[in-house]
Every structure is written in structure tokens, then in C-alpha cells.
């Protein structure tokens, strides 16, 4: 059945030339097959390589996800106090320096941080971050399969919690709250990005910030009709935005929101920290209630008339022995430690202010205790509604005279006039008269002297209006009256006549004669009569004793031309004149031509008090003495009377603090009266670090037309404070000092002191040391927590610009403390111009992030640049209560960057390793770099020259993940908000 090809039959009878075609066919087919085979091989190789790449990439991706798991676990377990973290050398051995990038296969750099603006922390990460190897195992030992590095960074603590931007049940956009430093809702969203937040989509404002806070009784959080707030986290917020506008917010929009805001129900503790175990950490049992500055209803009206009022209200002193004694650490005592579970509900209002309770600087007071009481009294009298100074002695019983006058050791500053100056003007007048000779030829000379004295007193009004008294300045209830003790001691009043007398004296007369042709001087004693003038006191008659009424009283009236309740008030009390007459007869030839009226005495201004509307409001223990010793010369010719005034004055340096002797200057002689004028040493605008420098040069309140001259700190509200800034108006009990919110003592802010065996924070002292620490110890809410404050420890520039936006400064000069609280609030917040926020403020505020407490904001030194000291105080007073500096807050939001590389482990397992040379080509310079290695399995191999930029092992794949997560601060549970593969 098979054809015999050897046969030569017809079929085989082909031309020899045709032989080989089959070969051609075969060859052709073979070629085709070869081509096809090559194509298959090529495709196969390509696919194999692609599969390998994908596998390696997948391997890197798997390694990255593996690392993400480890990161999540770490955040869950240890994230509570985590601010940032990264892979580090302590986790495993065999790490190499990553230093922000690494070379893959010699030609590709891999950056870990190119999505971040470097911060101090980032720099720290760059220096310390290390690779962590992923190890596998074969039959001979460990094998490197890849390596990963990561960094975690907490964010959100330096951002605004948008849930507190508006008042309850109000839309943020419709409610531009005024900045007074009470609540986070004063921060207005428009200052972050007006265009962005006012954008509408389809006619609907795309973000309606609307706050419907959870009911205080607990229960589910209601979803309000706007469906946006409150949100528990960013994802929640975004989903609500989607509900509102129907589409997902864009990436850019999310970025903008992420830039400024976080969303959660997190609150801030309204408590101050005292580091009881000195470990520098804020332990749970180291928190104490802040003092509720506005006071619960009726708080500031308590203990009126009680001599221990200051101790009971503010100074933690129930025994009134001058030192605090309330045990803050004993939970069973009122005012015990900060604990929500504390059984005494009064605790949440705080009990006293340690900064005042332990104040320790005497100044002009006899004891530092008295000054501490003065400060507390000033604060109380600012806040209580009456105009009766808080004092250890009932003001109604103050007296200035008597053996033991009733004198207070402190008197609070009420909105009343203050005694400012007492002056005595002493006028000596004399007249010398000659009468015609009598029958004996004797001439009678009569000298009359008159001593007149007037006492002047001056009160000053530094407030726009005086007290609660209604009506015009001449209302009897507004009568200003002073009563003081002026004492004259040891008077000696004489008429001394310059009496001519004839005296015989011997003089040597010289005469030159010529004897024997030579001049000779001859001296001859000669008696001569000369007239010598001697002062001879005459017997004189005094009309009465030089004495002033005791006490001297006078009504003070407005010094201004137009009767007014502003400026200075003065009064004069004329003391009965004293007339001295002396006379004597002289021979006509020896009639005296002059005489003197000589007056000597010691004078003292002892105690003084001021009444306003019939009530004692001000007391001064002036106690200034002065010697008066003057002689007025009078001549017979031309017979005119002579007169000369002598003025002595003592003045308060600062009328707000005029109680003690040291608060008044010396009883000096001056050339002209100063009554009704600013005291020369009493300028609020003096420069110097140890005083609250004002812009005005006169402490008195003046209004002339639209021009107002007024100290920015001269306010007494007679009502509870509505802004922490008002603390800066409280006088500090020493001239030109009000509570200094511009300086802060970090050590005192956290370190306890032991007083009477009990622990407290330290108190205030020097002015330059500052009083900003008091801001840590007060709160403006009666609750134990408040809406999440801005944490300056992590704040960014953008957030700070928005946060500070809309701040008005220079409001102090416009305050009118006669206004209702609502109107006063408006003046506090916006009566001055809106401030632009210079870069220097931002940097300066950020510099305070290392402070222990929020009051560290006061040390932001560059806030003063471009603004006055008053402005600086105002900034601090208006924002300090809205911030915290809290490095240990639990992590809530975090970003993580994970970089993983799959690696082909090169080398052998010999002790010396596999000696090999590897060639790298720099993609930039195109240079070829050769490196020698002794590569071993199971480790990343650096070259022999230890250049860390090169490794022997082959990086076969890489994956970088950007992750944003949320960690529930209560449970620690982590939710990943986004995971993005970027390489």
C-alpha cells in the first residue's frame, strides 16, 4: 500500500532540475517554525518577565501591607501618647541608614518624605529612621525577602475642631461671633478661607457649619437637618457633605478641609495641672479644677462686710491666717482634686486661685499677706456689684483721727474717685510801720506778721463714670469729700527786728612818716563807733495757735471749667490766719530798717480718707512729715507789705494704689501748685519693664468732644468678668502695675510648692516675672470640660492665621463699663480696629509650643512687634483661653507613610561571604560606579567601602503607601480613612 519511491514509473519520472523543492519547502516551513518558535519564546520570556515583575511588585505591595498591619497594631496599642514614630534601630537589627532616600539598584532614588514640609520632627525622623528587614527562611538559614520603613505622624491636635465653631443650634456662616476669649465658637470659619467656605454648589452652600451639640444628658447625637455637623470624624463629615450636595467632595476640597479642621466630639479639660510626682507627665490624678471666673450666680456677692471675704472667695484660706489651708489633694474636702466623680458639686467651680493665694511680694505693704489681700480685693471689687471697697475693716468705721485711728490694711479698688494729692500752701506776710517820734524823740516801729495756710486736696477720677450713683455730677450722692489729719507741731513764731546798735571797736590806723629820709609806718589804735545790725526777737503777740481743724474736711469739686464728673476734683480748706505783732521804740538815729517774720514748725499729713456719696471709699496712710523753717524779710522803706507763698505737697504715684506711705512721694516743697494737674511722677506712659505702660500720659479720664484720654486698664465693671482679658485690668497693688498677662513662668506653672504641709502651685511675685500663669488657673465655663481648644503644640501656620483672623485690638481705650454686659462685650470684642496678622505673630506663637501650659502663650515675645503693650495683653487675654499646649494628648488622627521593597538576597552563607563586584550606573551623571562586596545571605550587604548608598542585594520591587487613619482615643480602635499607593 506504500508507494515505492525507488521505482521508475511515471510518477517518479520528474526532471532532475525539480529535485530540492521539498527541501525548500522544508526549509521554508522550518524557518517559519523557527520564527514562530522564536516569537513564542520571546512572548514567553516577556510574559515570564512581566509575571516576575508583577510578582515582585506584588511582593513589595504585600510587604507594605504587612507593614501597615504592624503600624496599625502599634497605633492601637501604643498610640495614646504618640505624636510621631518611625521604624527604628531598636526594633530589629541589621538596619541601614535610610536618610530620607535610598538607591534602588543603583539608579533610582526613593523618597520617603517628599509629601511633607519638613518640620523639626520630620528632621528628627530623617536622622533616625531605619529599614526593617522582612526575613524568610530556607533550609540553610534566614533569607532577606524585603525591607520596609515607615513613619507615623499624628495630626489634628494643632487643628480646629470644626464641631465647636458655631454656637449651639446656630449656623457658623450666619453668626460672626465676637472674640473675647471664652469659647471656640468665637473662631470664625471665614478667616480660614472665605471663598472656599462660602462656595455654593447648585445653589446650595456646600458646607453649612451648623452645630447641634449632643445633649448634655447623653444619648444619641441628633443628626440635624443640614446633615453636616456634628461629625465624629472626617469620613463622617464627608459623607454628610455628600448627602447635602449629592456628590463626593473633590480631592482638593478634602485637602483644604484637612488643612484646617478635624471632626470629633473631643473636649478639653478645664483643669490645671500640678506635677505632683515631678515626672513631667500629666497623670490623671494631677488635675485640679480651674476657678470659674464669672462665678456661679451670687458668687461675687458673698461675704460682703466679712473681714475675711478675700480669703473665703479666692485665697484658699479658711482660717484667715495668711496662708492657704484648703487641701486640694484630699478628695473629701471642698475644692479637692479634679475628679468628675467628686461628690461635691461645688468642686467644678474651682476653689480659689493659687496664683493669688501664694502671691509673695510685699511692695509698699507691711506684709506680703496684705498685698495679696489687696489683689484679691481688687479682683472681687471689679466683679461684685456694689461700690463698697472690700477691706479687712468695714469702710463705714474708718477714722483718720484719734489715738488709735481705725485703719484698713487693704482696700479694694471700686469705681470711685481716689485721693491723689494733698498740698499745704503757707503764706507769710509782713509789714513794717514807723510812727512819728513821740515827745521823747523816740520812734515806734511796729512789725506785723501774718501766717496763713491753706490745705488743698485732690481726688482723681480715672473712670468714665463714677460708681452706681445716678444723676448729674452735682447729685448729692456724688459729693466727693475728703477728711484728713494735718498736724502742726512745735511752732515757733517770731518777729525779729534788725536792730542797729552802736558798738565801739578799736581799729589800727596806719600812717607813714618820713624819718631820716625813710618812710616809716606808724600804727595807732583808735576807738571808733560803728553801727552793728543784730537780729533781735521782739516780744510779740500771737492771735492764736497755728493749728488746723482735726480732721480737716473739705468738699472737692470738679477742677474743670465746665462742671463734669471726669478728671480732677479739688478743694481748699483755709486755716485761720495767725497774726503776730511786735513793736519797739528807737531813737530816730537808730530806727531799724528791716525785720523778719520767722516761722518754724513741724507738719505732718497723717491719715486721709475719701468719701463719695457720703460713704468712705478710699483710705490713705500717708504719714508724711516735713519741717517748715522760713523767714520773710520786710523793709521799712517803702513801707509796702511783703508776702511769699510756700507750697508743700505729697502725691500718690498711682491713684489706684494709694493706701500706704510708700505709695506717696515725699512731702516736698514745690514752686507752684500742682493741685488739679497730673502729678509729675504719675504718668502711665512711662517706659520701663516693671510697669503696665499705657498710651496716655495722664491717669485721669478726660473727654473733650470726641477725644477721649483714658487708660486702657482703668475699668471696674461691677459685674462678673466676661473675658479673661479683663484680668489685665486688675491692679496689682503697686504703682503702675496691673496683672501682667505678658509674661509667664514655666517652672511655676507645673511645679508644686508646699505650704503648711499642703501642695499648691506657686503664686505671683515680681511684675517682670509676670502673672500669665493665672490664665492656667481660671476658666470661663462652669463645666469641667469645654469644646476642644486649639493645641499650640502642633499648630500649623495656616491654622494660626485663620485662628487669629478677625481679632480686634486697641479696644481698651473704648471700653465703657457703664454699658450692659451685651454692649460691653461688643466693645471688648470690636471697638478697636481689626488687626492684620503679621508673620511675626505666627512664628512667635509657635515658639511657645514647648511651654508646659497654655499660659506659655504669654511668652510669645514678638506679639509686641507692631503693637502696643496693651495690644499684646489684649491678644493674650482674647486667645489664651481658646488654646492649650498639650503635648501628651492621645493620638486621634494620624498619617503614615510606608515604604517597602522586595529584595533578592545576594550572597552565600560562607563566613567571608561571596566576593563579587557590582557595577552601578548613576542615571544623573551617567558615571559607572563599581563596588566590591562580600555578600552574605540573610543580610543587607553594604560594599567593602561601607558606602551606604549601595547594596549588593537586588531591590526587585517597591511599594509606597500613604495612609490616613483615625484612632478612637477611648477604645484605641483604629479606622483607616484612606490608603493610597503612590509608587
Amino acid at each position: 500500500m506504500f508507494k515505492d519511491f525507488n521505482k521508475t514509473d511515471g510518477a517518479m519520472k520528474h526532471n532532475k532540475k525539480e529535485r530540492g523543492v521539498a527541501l525548500l519547502y522544508v526549509l521554508g516551513i522550518l524557518s517559519l517554525l523557527i520564527i514562530m518558535a522564536l516569537a513564542f519564546v520571546s512572548t514567553s520570556l516577556f510574559n515570564q518577565r512581566a509575571a516576575a515583575n508583577t510578582a515582585r511588585r506584588s511582593e513589595a505591595n504585600v510587604l507594605a501591607l504587612s507593614m501597615l498591619d504592624r503600624v496599625v497594631i502599634a497605633v492601637q496599642e501604643f498610640g495614646e501618647n504618640l505624636k510621631y514614630s518611625h521604624s527604628n534601630e531598636n526594633a530589629r537589627d541589621m538596619f541601614e541608614v535610610l536618610d530620607s532616600y535610598y538607591v534602588i539598584g543603583g539608579d533610582k532614588k526613593s523618597y520617603l518624605f517628599n509629601y511633607y514640609t519638613p518640620t523639626v520632627e520630620d528632621q528628627k525622623i530623617k536622622t533616625n529612621i531605619r529599614w526593617m528587614p522582612h526575613l524568610s527562611q530556607d533550609e540553610n538559614g534566614p533569607l532577606i525577602v524585603g525591607r520596609s520603613a515607615f513613619m507615623i505622624k499624628s495630626y489634628g491636635r494643632g487643628m480646629i475642631n470644626a464641631n465647636y465653631l458655631s454656637k449651639t443650634n446656630q449656623k457658623e456662616q450666619n453668626q460672626p461671633e465676637r472674640r473675647i476669649g471664652v469659647d471656640m465658637d468665637e473662631v470664625n470659619v471665614e478667616f480660614f478661607d472665605l471663598a472656599f467656605f462660602s462656595k455654593t454648589i447648585g445653589g446650595v452652600k456646600w458646607i453649612e457649619l451648623f452645630n447641634q451639640r449632643p445633649p448634655t444628658s447623653g444619648g444619641p447625637v441628633p443628626i440635624n437637618s443640614y446633615g453636616v455637623l456634628p461629625a465624629t470624624n472626617l469620613a463622617d463629615f464627608l459623607s454628610r457633605v455628600k448627602v447635602r450636595i449629592g456628590v463626593d467632595p473633590s480631592t482638593e476640597e478634602i485637602k483644604t478641609i484637612n488643612k484646617y479642621f478635624v471632626f470629633s466630639g473631643e473636649t478639653s479639660k478645664e483643669a490645671y495641672w500640678m506635677d505632683l510626682n515631678s515626672d513631667g507627665k500629666r497623670d490623671d490624678d494631677e488635675w485640679f479644677h480651674r476657678f470659674y471666673l464669672p462665678g456661679k450666680p451670687g458668687f461675687w456677692e458673698q461675704y460682703i462686710g466679712d473681714p475675711d471675704r478675700v480669703n473665703k472667695l479666692l485665697l484658699l484660706d479658711t482660717t484667715s491666717n495668711g496662708t492657704p489651708n484648703i487641701d486640694l489633694l484630699n478628695p473629701s474636702t471642698i475644692g479637692g482634686r479634679w475628679r468628675a466623680t467628686h461628690p461635691n458639686s461645688d468642686d467644678k467651680y474651682g476653689r480659689g486661685i493659687p496664683w493669688l493665694a501664694n502671691f509673695n511680694r510685699r511692695a509698699t505693704f507691711d506684709h506680703s499677706r496684705d498685698r495679696k489681700h489687696q489683689l484679691a480685693a481688687n479682683l472681687i471689687d471689679y466683679c461684685d456689684s456694689d461700690s463698697v471697697p472690700t477691706s479687712d475693716v468695714d469702710p463705714d468705721t474708718w477714722t483718720v483721727t484719734g489715738t488709735n485711728p481705725v485703719r484698713p490694711t487693704y482696700t479694694g479698688n471700686e469705681k470711685t474717685p481716689y485721693l491723689n494729692e494733698i498740698q499745704t500752701k503757707i503764706i507769710l506776710s509782713a509789714e513794717m510801720t514807723q510812727y512819728p517820734p513821740d515827745s521823747d524823740g523816740l520812734v515806734r516801729i511796729r512789725v506785723k506778721g501774718i501766717l496763713d495756710a491753706a490745705l488743698d486736696a485732690e481726688a482723681i477720677n480715672i473712670y468714665k463714670t463714677l460708681g452706681i450713683y445716678p444723676g448729674d455730677p452735682y447729685d448729692p450722692l456724688k459729693v466727693i469729700e475728703t477728711e484728713f489729719r494735718y498736724i502742726i507741731k512745735n511752732p515757733k513764731i517770731q518777729i525779729v527786728i534788725d536792730e542797729p546798735t552802736i558798738e565801739i571797736i578799736t581799729v589800727i590806723e596806719e600812717e607813714t612818716v618820713i624819718i631820716n629820709g625813710e618812710p616809716v609806718v606808724i600804727k595807732t589804735p583808735v576807738e571808733k563807733e560803728i553801727i552793728v545790725i543784730k537780729g533781735v526777737p521782739l516780744d510779740n503777740i500771737l492771735s492764736n495757735d497755728p493749728s488746723a481743724p482735726d480732721p480737716t474736711t473739705m468738699i472737692l469739686t470738679s477742677k474743670t471749667t465746665t462742671p463734669s464728673s471726669v478728671g480732677y476734683f479739688t478743694g481748699t480748706q483755709i486755716i485761720d490766719g495767725i497774726v503776730a505783732i511786735g513793736q519797739k521804740k528807737y531813737p530816730s538815729a537808730l530806727v531799724p530798717q528791716s525785720a523778719s517774720f520767722v516761722v518754724k514748725f513741724d507738719m505732718e499729713i497723717e491719715n486721709a480718707k475719701l468719701k463719695f456719696g457720703g460713704k468712705n471709699v478710699d483710705y490713705c496712710k500717708i504719714e508724711k512729715t516735713r519741717n517748715f523753717n522760713k523767714a520773710l524779710k520786710v523793709k521799712l522803706d517803702p513801707g509796702e507789705a511783703e508776702s511769699k507763698p510756700y507750697i508743700y505737697t505729697t502725691q500718690a504715684y498711682d491713684p489706684r494704689q494709694n493706701l500706704n506711705k510708700g505709695d506717696w512721694n515725699s512731702f516736698n516743697e514745690v514752686t507752684s501748685t500742682n493741685i488739679g494737674l497730673r502729678n509729675p511722677s504719675s504718668s502711665p506712659s512711662h517706659s520701663g519693664t516693671s510697669r503696665a505702660v499705657e498710651n496716655v500720659s495722664d491717669p485721669a479720664y478726660y473727654k473733650s468732644g470726641s477725644t477721649i484720654r483714658h487708660m486702657s486698664t482703668a475699668h471696674i465693671r461691677n459685674a462678673p468678668m466676661i473675658s479673661p482679658w479683663e484680668l489685665a485690668f486688675i491692679h496689682r497693688g503697686y504703682r503702675w502695675e496691673t496683672l501682667n498677662l505678658k509674661a509667664y513662668d514655666d517652672e511655676k506653672a507645673r511645679t508644686f510648692v508646699t505650704v503648711g504641709g499642703k501642695k499648691y502651685l506657686a503664686g505671683g511675685g515680681s511684675y517682670t516675672g509676670g502673672d500669665a500663669n493665672i490664665l492656667d488657673q481660671i476658666k470661663m465655663t462652669s463645666d469641667t470640660t469645654s469644646g476642644k481648644k486649639l493645641n499650640l503644640a502642633d499648630v500649623t501656620d495656616g491654622v494660626l492665621y485663620g485662628f487669629l483672623g478677625g481679632l480686634h485690638l486697641g479696644c481698651g481705650a473704648h471700653l465703657d463699663d457703664t454699658k450692659s454686659s451685651a454692649d460691653f462685650l461688643e466693645l471688648l470684642a470690636r471697638s478697636g480696629p481689626e488687626a492684620s496678622v503679621p508673620d511675626s505673630w505666627i512664628g512667635s506663637i509657635k515658639d511657645t509650643r514647648h511651654s508646659s501650659t497654655r499660659a506659655g502663650l504669654a511668652n510669645a515675645g514678638r506679639l509686641q512687634e507692631g503693637s502696643t503693650e496693651a495690644d499684646r495683653t489684649e491678644i493674650i487675654g482674647k486667645i489664651c483661653n481658646l488654646v492649650e499646649i498639650y503635648k501628651d494628648t492621645p493620638m486621634e488622627y494620624f498619617d503614615a507613610i510606608i515604604l517597602s521593597q522586595s529584595i533578592n538576597d545576594v550572597g552565600d552563607r560562607s563566613l567571608s561571604g561571596l566576593s563579587l563586584k557590582k557595577v552601578f550606573k548613576d542615571t544623573g551623571s551617567q558615571l559607572t560606579i563599581k563596588k566590591d562586596f562580600n555578600a552574605k545571605k540573610g543580610q543587607i550587604d553594604s560594599p567593602v567601602d561601607n558606602d551606604k548608598n549601595y547594596i549588593a542585594d537586588e531591590v526587585t520591587g517597591q511599594c509606597k503607601l500613604l495612609v490616613r487613619g483615625y484612632r478612637d482615643p477611648t477604645t484605641g480602635k483604629v479606622q483607616l480613612i484612606s490608603v493610597k499607593t503612590v509608587e
Partner: protein, 184 residues
Amino acid sequence: MKLLVMLVVGLFLTFTGAIAQTAPKAAVTPAPVITKDSPTDRPIDRNAVDAFIKKIQDCLGKDLKNYQESSYRQYAFRAIELKEWLNYQFLEADSGIDAEWFKQLHEFVNFFSQTKREHDLSSMPEDSKFRTDNKDKFEIGVKRFNVLIKNPTRANQQRVNYQKREKEKYLKEKNTAAKNKAKR
């Protein structure tokens, strides 16, 4: 018995210093001393009175022109002078003017002195209401003063005669005493 106990206790307290009675202020205002010698060593006749009034008028004239700058002292000294006149027993005899008129004159000068003194010693500003009122008051006083000095009230002639007789008697006694003294 009660009296005895009080006395003993009182003495005890006094000696121990528990009761310290403050001495009343030594008011040495001298009682007016009527003198028979003229305070000017000359009779205060009509010329002396006119000269005195002229002096007052000169002061008033100057002061009304420049009230702020002038001083109260001239009036103070003139008031002292008049007070001395009023203590002179034979004032009416010398001047023929009623003593009551001199008292009125003294009141006026005193008024000028006090009013101007209040003005000069006051610390109120120059354009204050107090000073304006003070000047108005002073000017009213001047107008009334001018009325007073136009017609000094003549003294009762019988009293004048009596005083003249008394003065002559006094001068005679005085001269005799002086001569006797000279002889000794």
C-alpha cells in the same frame, strides 16, 4: 460711799495713766484790750480816717483792675490796723465819727481780706465758677463800701464831749506821770 469709791477709782486710773485728759487747745486769741493811747501815736482824726480810706480805695481800685494778680495782704493788714483803732477808747473823740461806723468799716475791710484770701489761696482754676463768684462778691462789697464811706456817721456829740474830757484827763495824768518819772 459711792462717791468715795468713784474718787478712789478715779485717782487710781489717773495715776496709772488710764485716764489721760487732753488739755484743751490753748486758744491764745487775746481778749480785746481797750487802750487809751492811740495805736498810731497820733490822734485818729478825720484826716487820718480819710487817709486810711484813701489807702483802701487805692487798693480796691488796683485790685478790681487785676483781680487775679493782686493780693489779699493789704486788706489783712488794714483790718488789723482797724481792729487796733476799734480798741482805742477815744476814737470817736478824735474823729467825730460814730464807732459803729468804724465797726462797719472794719467788717468791710475784713470782708475784702477774707474774700480775697479765699480767692488767693484757692486752687481752683482762674476761669472757674468759684473765682468768678468770688470776684462778683468782692465787687458787690466794693459798691456797698463806697456807699458807706460817702457819709460817715457822726458820733453822738455828748459821747464825743465825754470822751474828749476823759482823754484830756488821761493825757494830763500821763504827762504828770512822765514828768515824775523824769524827775526820779
